[in-house]
């Protein structure tokens, strides 16, 4: 049994257990900061281990480590680290989170990493459950707040339903193909050449289950309520790591075992992508709460990212990966900004609370503006390159309809992003925010710089994404 490819995951799991025990022995009031610091250290250490981890298939075809898995694991870990830093800032500003928060984030990250390098549908499912279950708990962790409890319960019930669908799809695939291992699935599908209806239904159910985790339309209903209700650091986490993991799975399954069925599933992904983009931008317009706005925005972003996969080519996968990396950067920055929105120690989340931020806190307004422009896709911000690559891939794949929908929804999206900028600079201030915690300032400043100077790292990221895509497609 070759377990070396899974070495980073093993280390992270053991670190998680140790950190949990450390947290339990510390005093309740002062356990959050050391536990968070340890969690960040464990995640950073794991990121280094991932960089140097061995390629190959381990643990009896259950676990695959390749360039693709490594790329996504780094994205997932970065998302986890940034969310934990935001959580530290949130608590410092008076938010009430127990020490289990960073530990659960760690376990959720671990589940997401397992998903990213699953070599078997069972690993996929267990990783997904580990990742989701932690997030259900995280959503409701401020249990005194009614909205948080509502968010947790809603996400739990709908998420369980989606897991059930996914499992049903897996069982259908297993029933018709007789195996759950990706390489074996590939060879069986190749050899038989025919495609039973049950298998197609199974694949559709798997796509549906994953699309739910991605909050892609029409499986997005939970997103706004959960994003709004969950504590801001948790929302920041949810919008990052699990989405990357769900994308990792979707890409790995669609490009791997079901790769030769691309003409069959392509239309499904095109429809999901187009609906997500359109709905994400249209439904965001009437929103008054910034967290709800970001929820619709993330629905739209998932649509764009899926555009690359829908074009079913190596360039498309590369585009999706670059898009996700850009999304990670700007998303973490925006949520650090939202976590800093506090007046007299109370969190405010209305968009009009940002009014006059250009006068009261010019630095924060500037970084938020950078993120908004990046989300629109204005060059030379990070978002532009992601959008450019997925649009180019869709163009090369001849998906003109999808391109038009993407262009139109990008224009509509520009309206609501620019409205936030307009409110920050041209509306009269209603009072200033509290001084943000240093960690929040750090995250939003560093992510702002990363968004603006994304072009510097573009070469590295693109070649890494290229290597990742070629690990799958060959």
């Amino acid at each position: 049994m070759n377990w070396m490819p899974a070495f980073p995951e093993l280390v992270l799991a053991i670190c998680g257990l140790i950190i949990l025990v450390v947290g339990a022995f510390l005093k309740k009031t002062e356990s959050f900061v050391p536990v968070s610091a340890l969690t960040i250290a464990a995640l950073v250490g794991t990121a280094f281990l991932v960089c140097g981890s061995a390629d190959g298939v381990g643990l009896g075809h259950l676990f695959i480590n390749d360039n693709f898995a490594r790329f996504l694991k780094l994205l997932i870990l970065t998302g986890g680290i940034l969310a934990t830093v935001v959580a530290m800032g949130y608590v410092r500003e008076g938010g009430d989170l127990p020490f289990e928060t960073p530990v659960l984030m760690l376990f959720s990250t671990l589940g997401a990493m397992l998903m990213a390098s699953s070599g078997n549908l069972i690993t996929l499912f267990v990783g997904l459950e580990l990742s989701s279950l932690s997030i259900y708990i995280l959503c409701a962790i401020e249990r005194e707040r009614l909205k948080a409890a509502e968010a947790g319960l809603k996400y739990f019930i709908l998420g369980s339903l989606a897991s059930g669908l996914l499992l049903y799809g897996i069982s259908l695939v297993y029933g018709y193909a007789g195996t759950m291992e990706y390489p074996a699935l590939t060879s069986i599908l190749m050899a038989s050449g025919l495609l039973p209806v049950g298998l197609v239904i199974g694949i559709v159910f798997i796509i549906v289950g994953l699309a739910f985790k991605l909050s892609a339309v029409p499986f997005h209903m939970w997103t706004p309520d959960v994003y709004q209700g969950a504590p801001t650091p948790v929302t920041a986490f949810m919008a990052g790591a699990p989405k990357f993991a769900a994308f990792a799975l979707l890409i790995r399954i669609m490009a791997g075992p079901f790769g030769m069925l691309a003409p069959r599933w392509q239309l499904l992904l095109v429809v999901i992508s187009a609906l997500s983009m359109l709905f994400g931008s249209l439904a965001a317009i009437p929103q008054t709460d910034i967290k709800r706005l970001m929820a619709y925005s993330s629905i739209g972003h998932m649509g764009y990212a899926m555009m690359g996969l829908a074009s079913a080519s190596g360039a498309g996968i590369r585009g999706t990966l670059v898009y996700l990396s850009a999304y990670l950067v700007m998303n973490a920055g925006v949520f650090a900004g939202i976590a800093a929105m506090r007046r007299q120690g109370h969190e405010v989340t209305k968009i009009r609370d940002l009014a006059g931020l250009g006068q009261t806190n010019p630095a924060m307004a500037l970084t938020m503006t950078v993120f908004m422009f990046s989300m629109i896709g204005v060059p030379p911000m990070a978002g532009f390159f992601g959008k450019f690559m997925v649009f180019a891939a869709a163009w090369n794949a001849g998906l003109t309809g999808l391109l038009i929908v993407g262009g139109v929804s990008a224009l509509i999206g520009a309206y609501y992003y620019l409205r936030v900028v307009k409110i920050m600079y041209f509306d009269a201030p209603e009072g200033s925010f509290d001084r943000p915690a240093p960690s929040l300032t750090f995250v939003s400043a560093s992510m702002g710089v990363a968004t603006v100077l994304y072009v510097v790292g573009l070469g590295v990221i693109t070649s890494a994404a290229d290597a990742a895509a070629s690990a799958l497609i060959g």
Partner: protein
């Protein structure tokens, strides 16, 4: 014949599963659930997976007991009323029992051990000298072949436990906790004060029950005679009226 048994089990399973969600009485639902579990176990049995079938019965009997408890606790069912309807339910229960019994007989008649059937699924199981019984094959699959998901499932359960604790544990400030070190440090003088009372006077006449002064300094707030939140303030249980003799 085995096919007929299969269809009987499958039909009863589907029927009882439908009844679980359509029965109006929650107790009926639970009973149908048990019937459904037994039928699923029967299906396993005729497929030659006797270990799984026994596991299903053993595990789910426990689970159903818990579910029953939940039904009792969470739903507002008047059980005295229910007991009145015992005669009404008796034929129903007897019917479920009869079906179960008939099925058990059928299942045992058609139970054959078939470890060969699980072989094609797993690599390495078909090797000569490999595990041959059903249970050993399952053990090999779960603990060797699927070690990673098995351990990950352990983490899932751990997370569920963390969640259950964080979401429900409430630290009540009024909780009386045993402080063992303080108990050990207690001396007789701290708790007991010898008073010489004049003949014919009761304790009440002498200012009521009271504890030695040292008690009030060390007692946990909220304890007897010490108000919530502020320790060390003497409150006499029986306020003295008039002068202390």
């Amino acid at each position: 014949m085995t096919q007929i048994v299969f269809y009987v089990f499958a039909a009863v399973l589907l029927l009882s599963a439908t009844m679980v969600i359509s029965a109006r009485n929650p107790v009926h639902s639970v009973l149908f659930l048990i019937l459904a579990f037994f039928n699923a176990a029967g299906l396993f049995l005729i497929a030659g997976a006797e270990f799984l079938s026994m596991l299903l019965v053993i595990v789910y009997v426990g689970a159903v007991a818990v579910l029953f408890l939940f039904v009792v606790m969470m739903l507002d069912i008047d059980f005295t009323k229910m007991r009145e309807g015992l005669q009404r339910y008796a034929p129903f229960g007897a019917a479920v029992g009869a079906v179960l019994f008939a099925e058990l007989v059928m299942a045992f008649l058609h139970w054959h051990q078939a470890p060969v059937r699980v072989m094609p699924i797993t690599g390495g199981l078909g090797q000569p000298g490999g595990p041959h019984t059903n249970t050993a094959a399952l053990g090999n699959i779960i603990y060797t072949h699927y070690l990673l998901p098995f351990q990950a499932c352990g983490l899932v359960l751990l997370v569920a436990m963390i969640g259950a604790i964080t979401l429900t544990l409430r630290e009540r400030p009024t909780g009386r906790r045993q402080l063992i070190d303080r108990q050990h440090a207690r001396r007789r003088e701290d708790t007991l004060e010898m008073l010489t009372l004049p003949l014919g006077n009761s304790v009440v006449d002498n200012g009521g029950f009271r504890r030695p002064d040292t008690y009030y300094g060390t007692a946990v707030p909220g304890s007897w005679g010490v108000p919530e939140g502020e320790g060390g303030k003497v409150v006499k249980a029986v306020p003295a009226e008039g002068d202390h003799a």
